[in-house]
Symmetry: C2
Subunit: 588 residues, 2 copies
């Protein structure tokens, strides 16, 4: 009860910052993960006239995910490892302060998919950074001085971080990476003032450690929401395997004040060799709805029971109030790695729609709407084939029809704008021994563009989540690995791995209104803000991430980088490493 | 005689490429080092409307000097160590080929002033790259495949390279760095077809090794040109000291077809502790005019006999036909590190004008026009003070009133546009032992903005070389460390260490017509070209070089980086590392 005033304050601060569309106060622009801006100075009529306003190198070469934040004339930028933070005065572009953590470079090879970082959070006069070495730090937003710091995991065991911290109410919430090291995933909530741990909720294991209430935590069962029951996770693992069972939490989280629930997904069960871990491996590959104050799970939904393809379920949950099959719904929309887009009732957890958002998805024919389980095609089951058999032509590839690159929701068109991969794979599992701190992968992959299609590795699509249908699909040469922004100006903007920043017409995404070649490939997320009466759009470029791991880490063998190197080989004809920010605006 | 057809061909090729102002076929645009373009589509009337056309990261973080070359729709870019080369198709910005030499990183700490490289040469269907590890390589311009390669020096002894190779006639001419390692400087001329050495000319030592003709090599003596005489270098050194005597050749070279002479300057005598090397230390700190075919010196002129301040004489020789004191003259104009700008008769070597181009220069009162020697002010003589005495307030600092950053000549205004440093120093020499392959410096320096002036560390000036007078001087916060371009459009363009690309009116340089913040600090040279009917301007950004060594090498102590770290400390509030190219044009 003593904490209440602080709670109210911190929350009010974030809400006030978000409410002003001139700011970009959260990674997704809001708590619903909508990535929509009310700004309309730049619009379909004038977007073609945009030009670069200014640029800034970050001094770091590897993949640049996430975006800067902007609040009240100050911009806060982050970088991949070593996770520098800059505060830049928008009047002068001067660097007001810099934070340069000294992190042990030993964490670099512990990061599966490049040394990315998905950005900062800002609240309560503090900037929050989740460092790669698992330290969550709070910096004074005015000076960059360290306010508090807390260790969130053990990098020696592969528990590192790439996710952005999220501030919901009076808590800073963060996750963990390391699904390829056998790290048992969790979410941690820390007090915004002190960094003291408030609750911790594992993805797998005993009910108490998962903050699961066997009676009250609900799950879609036989066409209705039912309690999960006792030991819902333990029952689905052989012996102690859950202890090295994965289900990491490195994605984007969202929050709905009305229900006080936060939403996030869990990653793949470890190892990638399914024969070694029989069972549904709950609650890996799962959407969690948790009470922000207590951490207790309100409901869960597992997209891919017994994963055989590395289809991590961490992709963002977008909260939107839309018509689903004609009915106004408080929806949660999730574009899963497995190639299905799920529309759920976000209050109850009921499954409403589950459809493929790339027609080439072939590992399952459909999702059974009663059980909520995918109907797996035996031919593409890597468990059925068994270890040391190369299962060919699985679509999508392990990096999914979409990976971490976040989609947007446009309240005007009521559509979702989804940056997708159009990539398939061969997958050969093999037996692997768990050794603490060593990779625990157990499969050899190779990736290639979806065969019999347009030849490219990506599509930018608009999606009707109420019916589960693609509205339009714009082919792209490479996966669209950047986050999308929609604006009240009618724009939908995103970046390409080859380096082009593009804005298209949200009503007709095949209409490219603006295109600019930034210094490097784009895996960052588009953002916007207003400064001194002018609207700006911006995006990080800096090739990397899983798709760009070959260039980022200097790998050359096709099967290196967990199979991504070969598939994205051509990238080096289009771009080079290098992190920088490009800011666009209209001419004066 | 057999070589003649090839000779004629190679030369014709370069001349043809230069003659087309749509190309940027040499680092300076031409063989006269004028850095002037006949293009006028972008001009004083519309320059303010320029916008960024495209950008490209190079994937290398440290200082980016020089500029790309452009010939017939293809752009050739280089990088600092590891000296990557890219051929980029200007239609698509696709990377057509890439050359990535594997160089021993042991050369990095052997480079005094950052791992810079001043760019490529292009002739005879080949791209020439002078690698840091001293290998001069010829690449097939169409494929990037190695045609020939030759080792030019021994990096183990500190003989590394940063200079651009220069193609004059059928020769590729290159120099050497390592004045701070006691490297004895030289120029090497290689056959363009085979890489076979044609001649080699040392800066110091016996006449035969310097390709000096005691009777025919002339020098300004008592107001007239006289033969240098026998052992002109040896006589000015104590014992064998010339063998570790410096006089390196890492600057820009120029060539006049009419006289078949090439011009370049030599660097400081080693060590920086003058008491250790009594004598004039000839021919360090010297302008050389050499016959390109034989290498034999036609004339020499030493700017700073017995250097006590590290005023390397390597700055470029700009050849221009101007009025000097009212008389039409085939002039050579040289803005020396020592703060004097020299106008010479480039045919005879006669000294015509020698005046300060920064009024704060104080180490000498003037140049005696009869002897050609500076009149040193005793108070600023570090030799007079002796070792272990800190001589304070010397202007300019060791990095000179100008360093490697090349000036331009505008045939319309008949003025020179000079990027200058406005920096002074304290200099304390100390005794140092020569150890092969180890730094051989022998002085501790600190640098600071010229006192009692505008507070900044640089000026951009226009200069009348016929009278030796500053026409206009535009104060800058930092040294202007980038090369200048003038155009027929009336522009004079340059970059700032803080990252701004600027174009001013050549007729009134205080009038800024265009200004843009590039991703990083600029030490590259502005260039221009035409593609599909549109003119483009471009510049590398990427902070580094001697001025930016603190950021580039991550040094923090004020006296580190040969004294530059403290002086340029503030830079890190303005910019970050990161190499990229920014290309500008007018809107469609
Ligand atoms: O299991 C994990 O802990 C984990 C972590 C991460 C990460 O932290 O970046 C990725 C993945 N898995 C993963 O499966 C994946 O596809 C992926 C892509 C990326 C990226 O940033 O491009 N990270 C990750
Ligand atoms: O004596 C030498 O051999 C030598 C080499 C170099 C070089 O190769 O860059 C520089 C210098 N000296 C030097 O004195 C100097 O001021 C300098 C500046 C720079 C630069 O690129 O910013 N290089 C060098």
């Amino acid at each position: 009860v003593l904490a209440l005033p602080a709670l109210a304050l911190a929350n009010a601060d974030v809400e006030k910052n978000i409410a002003n569309p001139g700011n970009w106060a959260m990674q997704a622009g809001d708590m619903f993960n909508q990535r929509y801006s009310k700004l309309d100075q730049i619009n379909t009529g004038n977007a073609g006239k945009m030009q670069v306003a200014w640029t800034m190198s970050t001094g770091v070469l590897r993949g640049h995910e996430g975006s800067p934040l902007v609040v009240d004339g100050m911009m806060y930028l982050h970088t991949p490892f070593p996770n520098k933070v800059f505060a830049v005065d928008l009047d002068t572009q001067k660097i007001v302060w810099k934070y340069e953590p000294k992190q042990d470079p030993a964490v670099i090879p512990q990061m599966c998919c490049d040394t990315v970082n998905r950005g900062l959070a800002l609240a309560d006069g503090k900037v929050f950074l989740q460092q790669a070495d698992s330290n969550l730090v709070a910096l004074d937003a005015k000076t960059g001085k360290l306010v508090w710091s807390v260790k969130n995991g053990d990098p020696k065991l592969g528990a590192v971080n790439t996710n952005a911290p999220h501030v919901f109410k009076d808590k800073v919430i963060t996750g963990i990476s390391g699904g390829e090291w056998g790290v048992r995933g969790f979410i941690n909530a820390y007090d915004i003032k002190t960094g003291k741990q408030v609750w911790k909720a594992y993805s797998v294991g005993p009910d108490a450690e998962m903050l699961m209430d066997p009676e009250k935590t609900m799950v879609w069962t036989d066409g209705a929401m039912k309690p999960v029951g006792k030991d819902s996770s333990l029952k689905t693992w052989k012996g102690d395997q859950w202890k090295i069972g994965g289900g990491t939490t490195w994605g984007w989280y969202s929050y709905d004040k009305a229900t006080n629930l936060m939403y996030y997904g869990t990653g793949n069960p470890s190892t990638w060799n399914p024969s070694q871990r029989p069972g549904d491996n709950k609650w890996s590959m799962t959407i969690f709805a948790r009470d922000v104050d207590t951490g207790v799970a309100k409901w869960v939904y597992q997209m891919t029971p017994f994963d055989e393809w590395d289809f991590d379920g961490v992709n963002e949950m977008i909260l939107a109030d839309i018509n689903v099959k004609g009915k106004p719904t408080k929806a949660l929309v999730h574009f899963d790695r497995n190639g299905f887009a799920y529309t759920m009732d976000r209050v109850t957890g009921a499954l409403l729609v589950a459809e493929k958002y790339d027609p080439t998805v072939n590992w399952a024919t459909h999702v059974d709407m009663k059980t909520g389980r995918p109907a797996v095609v035996k031919k593409f089951s890597t468990a059925a084939a068994g270890p040391d058999v190369n299962v060919k032509g699985i679509c999508p590839a392990a990096l999914g029809t979409k990976d971490q690159q976040p989609a947007s929701f446009d309240p005007n068109t009521k559509l979702f704008y989804v940056p997708t991969n159009h990539v398939c794979m061969d997958y050969e599992p093999f037996k692997v021994e768990y050794v603490a701190g060593q990779p625990f992968v157990g499969a050899t992959l190779s990736m290639f563009p979806s065969p019999g299609s347009h030849g490219g590795m990506g599509n930018f699509i608009s999606w009707d989540a109420g019916t589960g249908k693609i509205v339009q699909s714009k082919p792209e040469k490479f996966s669209v690995w950047s986050g999308v922004l929609n604006t009240a100006g009618g724009l939908s903007c995103y970046g390409g791995l080859e380096g082009h920043f593009k804005c298209v017409d949200a009503k007709d995404i095949k209409k490219e209104l603006y295109k600019f070649k930034t210094p490097s490939g784009i895996i960052g997320n588009v953002f916007t803000y207003m400064h001194k009466g002018k609207q700006y759009l911006g995006v990080f470029s800096g090739i990397g991430g899983w798709a760009g791991i070959g260039m980022a880490a200097g790998l050359e063998k096709d099967s290196d980088g967990l199979g991504a190197v070969g598939g994205y080989k051509e990238l080096n004809q289009f771009t080079e490493l290098g992190g920088s920010l490009t800011i666009f605006t209209l001419p004066n």
